[in-house]
Symmetry: C2
Subunit: 143 residues, 2 copies
DNA sequence: TTTATAATTGAGAATGATACTCAATTATAA
DNA sequence: TTATAATTGAGTATCATTCTCAATTATAAA
């Protein structure tokens, strides 16, 4: 999906919900798109400020909530007390391997595990809604 | 393992490390053993206070750290900002299914997934150290 | 284009779990 | 029993995130 399409989709969603299209909201989306990494709210806040758009931390958090809510972004909890955000658009479902030493984050996909999760949920009579699967260890460089 | 054995093991570990055996530390261990559930620090603090032992939140946190460090307890991060602790002794490795509605926590074990995790780590040249695998959804009662 | 209005913003205060500080207390070895 | 280093607890600090509310702004209607 092109960035223009994504931007106009976001604007459409905002309008449909009676929400306003503001420079701050656009800036947060742009930031998420530009660097497809796993970004902290503070990073995004700093990146936007260091350009031209005036923004506050509160607005960054609020906009990130909207993006997650509307399916444009995914929020990660890596257990270190700071949430990470990544684009959800054009990014198939994946989980993460995190280096305990340098913090590097790598994505992985495994359909077998996905299937087994469904199986496990069924066994316990759960209707599966989301999951967190994170592997922690030492990356090649840090061993 | 009997609770007496566990208690004396803990005392031994403390002594070996030059740490003191205090009523507060014993109380935290006992609390963790008694209710094998997934306990929050605040629960444990309240439970100990409601009996006879004088204790502070700080000491509960400090003792839980020791218990995790020494392999007596496991710390869970369920993404809601409060850590949970569970006995690690006599409890084979397992992961968790959590109900999004009522918060119920159920344990599951799946050796296949465990093996695949190792495989995935190897593929990415990681030395696996820990992992988090949590399924979230609606339990039978909450659907 | 102007106006009316409800949504948004930002500064700073609030929150909530957890960690830290340090003087007073206590477990332990001699 | 004593000396001493470890521990405790009360309260303060921290840090990410959320909330508050007055001022600002996007937007629909005129």
């Amino acid at each position: 999906m092109t960035n223009e399409k994504l931007l106009s989709d976001f604007k459409d969603v905002l309008k449909k919900e009676g929400l306003k299209v503001t420079p701050q909201r656009i800036a947060v989306l742009e930031e998420i798109i530009k660097d497809k990494g796993h970004r902290e709210s503070e990073d995004i806040y700093m990146a936007i400020k260091s350009r031209k758009t005036h923004v506050s931390r509160a607005t960054v958090y609020r906009t990130l909530d909207i993006l997650v809510q509307k399916g444009f972004a995914r929020k990660l909890n890596l257990g270190d007390g700071r949430a990470r955000y990544e684009t959800k658009i054009d990014s198939p479902h994946h989980d993460h391997i995190i280096c305990n030493e340098c913090g590097k984050i790598i994505e992985f996909v495994n359909d077998e595990i996905e299937k087994m999760q469904e199986e496990i949920a069924k066994q316990h009579h759960f209707k599966l809604q989301q999951h967190i699967h994170q592997l922690f260890g030492l990356c090649k460089e840090c061993q």
